[in-house]
């Protein structure tokens, strides 16, 4: 049985079904979002220190950056 390949090691191919243009009047390229939106729709690739739990670190981020909500992508605990 072939072994499962890690998702970051697979090659991606894009299949084209149709072509169209996008209207610059609506929406925004993600990297050009204005500051408040950029943070509200942002992710931090954080290097977690030893000691606090992942949940505690996320709570610190919420406090320091004055956010209403935070989440994290997988618990890293002692």
């Amino acid at each position: 049985m072939p072994r499962t390949v890690a998702p970051w090691k697979t090659e991606r191919k894009l299949l084209m079904r149709a072509e169209d243009r996008t209207n610059p009047k609506y929406g925004r390229v993600p990297s050009e979002r204005p500051a408040e939106d950029y943070m509200q729709y942002g992710v931090i690739n954080l290097d977690k220190p030893a000691g606090p739990t992942s949940h505690e670190v996320a709570a610190w981020v919420k406090r320091i950056f004055k956010l209403q909500a935070v989440g994290h992508g997988g618990t890293l605990e002692a």
Partner: protein, 256 residues
Amino acid sequence: MTGVLPVTLGEATKVVQALLYSGKEYVCVMKLHADASEEQVKRVMSEFEDLVYQRPPLRASVKRQLRTRRIYYLDFLEIEGRNVLFKVGCEGGTYIRKLCYDVGEVLGCGAHMQELRRTRAGPFVEGDAVTLHDASYWFMEWEKNNDMKLLRRFVRPMEDALALIHKIYIRDSAVGAVCYGACLTAPGVLSLESDIVKGSLVAIMSLKGEAVALARAVADSEEIMRLEHGVVANVERVLMPRDTYPKCWKSGERKK
């Protein structure tokens, strides 16, 4: 434990489900409880590649039932006395502590996880992770002088978290409906990644590269390409605020 911990901010927290089940990579020090040769350790470790069975530990906040997890790769790095250094790539939710314990059992001498560092969580890698120390410094500098370059040093757009999720790119005219929770239908699809499997999680994207919604594919890539009409994906989580793009239907009128 230290290492890569993606922290989603505000509305971006909606993409957390895409990250939890995405792959992870760790560098680990396993301490053996008796001496063993390098060949013995390598041989036993090779038996753990691919599928493993694990029951979550007592302190985990998940249901403690036996479940399978995939080990993508288990690379022995070096051995020094009873310390074994290795790198492991695995599915989200794999307990490396249990892996070390089980390797010890098969070796016969027993072993435990001595130290762990996560080097990858989904698309996020150790190389560009920032410390909370640096992030808060840049945040304070940004609050002072409003230079976006400072924000960009430690915040990434939420779309970066979806880099490993299969994508479907749609027309502007379909974006409005999807934001209101409508299923994605064939005419709205412009392009899509190959290898989408029926039932898998996909990210619906605008041509500007904005994440519109997370959805479940109703068919494989090849079939979606062939479809003239009908549902292609069912929306699970809308990510883009409504009315970013105009609704392209009028209420009361029948769509042709």
